[in-house]
């Protein structure tokens, strides 16, 4: 069990290593999938590209924000 957990952690660290990025990118994909597959969101399809780019930038800002907060906490400690 321990080996499986270690292997999963190693795979996670290799591919992602950052929970904010994983959540951010996953959320963008879910939103795009909803826009693409739901018939009620046809009007949003034209803006999919903009939503994707804004989502990517927001994820970058969020993960850097967390890095800054960590740095501030380290300085305060």
């Amino acid at each position: 069990m321990n080996i499986i957990l270690k292997a999963m952690l190693a795979i996670y660290n290799f591919f992602v290593g950052d929970l904010v990025i994983l959540i951010g990118v996953s959320l963008i994909m879910i939103i795009l999938a909803l826009i693409h597959f739901l018939s009620t969101s046809i009007s949003l399809r034209g803006a999919s590209g903009v939503i994707l780019i804004i989502g990517v930038l927001a994820t970058l800002v969020a993960t850097l924000g967390r890095e800054i907060m960590r740095s501030e906490n380290r300085q305060q400690a």
Partner: protein
Amino acid sequence: MQWAIVIAAFLASAVEFVEAFTLVLVARITTNWRSAIVGALAAVATLGVIVGTLGVALVTLIPLDVLRFVIGFLLLLFGLKWLKNAIARYNGLKLLHDEEAIYRARVAEARARGEPVKSGLAPFGVLLSYKGVLLEGLEVAFIVISFGGSGVGGIGTAALGAALAGLLVLGIGVLVQAPLHRIPENTLKFVVGIMLTTFGTFWAGESFGITWPLSDLFLLILAALYLVASGLLISAIKQRQPRMVEASTTLRAAPLSQDKGVRP
């Protein structure tokens, strides 16, 4: 698009091969050249098998739309991770990768094991070199495989970029015979981060039926957009940094002032 794939794979591989070369050099110093080179070549062969089997299987078996989604997703994860780390290192939020320091630490670590220097193949040296090149090259292998999102030719093109970088780093390394600490690793990582994020956005978008204006040329616009945004983020964090240092100094000084009865 092919030239962009070659450049992205070349730069990503160059960074990883510089790090791998440091470990090959450690193996050479603590054992001998033969062991270090055999280990490195074995690792390159393993990486080639991974790219050849997994990459070609993915490209031929998975439908293009699904492949582009998976590849776009993976490239976005890799790209944002590289970009975040590079921006954090530019601003001192993370320590810069110091090949010289890593080299010294690894040599000391290897010498502490007390392995005797041999003239023939030393298993320790082979293993050290093999492990180093394999681990550093694994991410490059996945990046090369990811470029299969543009078709089977994409993997070949990316592999060409990676091979060129490998040869260049090896050539310079053999000439210099020292850790390649003068190569601007963080700048390379920053550029690679931008490129991977750009390709990731492009392919992930295409998998959801997004038709980018100007077709493949939109890659340049996307790259420029991410470059400008990253530049703004770097300067915004730099402006915030002095305030952070100032605040932490004030926090540390505050209890001292209170002890002495000084009012702010």
